[in-house]
Symmetry: C2
Subunit: 208 residues, 2 copies
Amino acid sequence: MEKRTTKQRILDEALDLFATHGYDGVTVAQIAHAVKIKTPSLYKHYKSKQDIFDAILEEIADRYKKRAESIKMDGLDAGKDTELFLNISKEQLEAMGTQLFLFFLHDEFTRKYRRMLTIEQFRNPTASRLYVAQYIDSPIHYQSTLFEAMMERNNMRRADARTAAMHFYSPMFLLLCLCDSSPEREEEALDFVRRHISQFTEIYITGE
Amino acid sequence: MEKRTTKQRILDEALDLFATHGYDGVTVAQIAHAVKIKTPSLYKHYKSKQDIFDAILEEIADRYKKRAESIKMDGLDAGKDTELFLNISKEQLEAMGTQLFLFFLHDEFTRKYRRMLTIEQFRNPTASRLYVAQYIDSPIHYQSTLFEAMMERNNMRRADARTAAMHFYSPMFLLLCLCDSSPEREEEALDFVRRHISQFTEIYITGE
DNA sequence: TTGACAGGCTAACAACCATTAGCTATTATT
DNA sequence: AATAATAGCTAATGGTTGTTAGCCTGTCAA
């Protein structure tokens, strides 16, 4: 029963357009054309252009909330992943990192709405909140608790965990920005990610 | 004689508007109003709205080019700064880093056009090129040559210099993005910058 | 003094935009 | 079978947008 309703297709196509042209750079006619219906038919599903935009933001917020909850259910925050990190080889860690990076880079929905939030963050307070929460605060907080646990067990060089988290995450963030802007440099970015993780573990992770 | 010509004021006000609303979110009437002239008078100075935008991009490219040239004239790339880094205390380094960060954050022109490039990078190839060059490639390249020199003189832990450069720069980049989106968190970001540099030097810089 | 030009203005326009009204066919409910 | 609701369509509208035409005034060189 959960096919691919028109209402959902409107959101998908609108997101696709907003993600490169921004809210003001897209006309309702363009959205309708992408969905293959006539412009006025859009209004059978959403009461305005702004309403479509808001629905996309809501969808993003929902997905984020659900993901955050599922993380908290998997043991106290990063508890489960701490175990993983402890008994992992340097090579496995590198593979894990690149895989995560590739997911963020390639997953179509993730990628499109990251671009949309990047564009809209300066004029839409909700977009700004979501952008900061998802791409800055949340990853750093997650890595932070992970590293704190590892430091306590002496699996990691003792230092400020939040700073270490930033040292781990921010290169990924920068390379994600690079790839969003210049997708043709993906391979180069990936190479950077690998060397980054490798060098990070060499510096921060104790024992072999 | 180089007062503040109307032609230049148009660029300034247009940049101001483009930096928060994006190209499509700004009307020529808004620009004219900000300059305190009537809309059609704009066309005595620029032949179209797009022409105004292109002139801004050109101005950005010019400033960037000049800065790059002046760096290269100061000895071979980062040669001069290498000396500085060698005979600098940890505290001085920290102060230098925060000062540089604050300049990028507070300098009005720098800040506005960074925001504009952020918004326009996905639909304008020139904006994309400038964004990547100025905020990713150029800083990393600069830090890279600096670190290479320092490693050769054993002033720094030997490692891949480009990766080290990313470790040094990317947290600044992330925190700049944070402040652009949430200016009220500047103090927190600044604290992060300090701890980052402090932890970085502890890890990478040899000797005291 | 004359004349060219720069730089402002008002008036106007065609194109485009988001949105509404109202018709119709299909589907679901009673 | 009758009815209501859904979701598409065409046509139209009022407002806005970028842009042009053409007028007027002050400046300055010839």
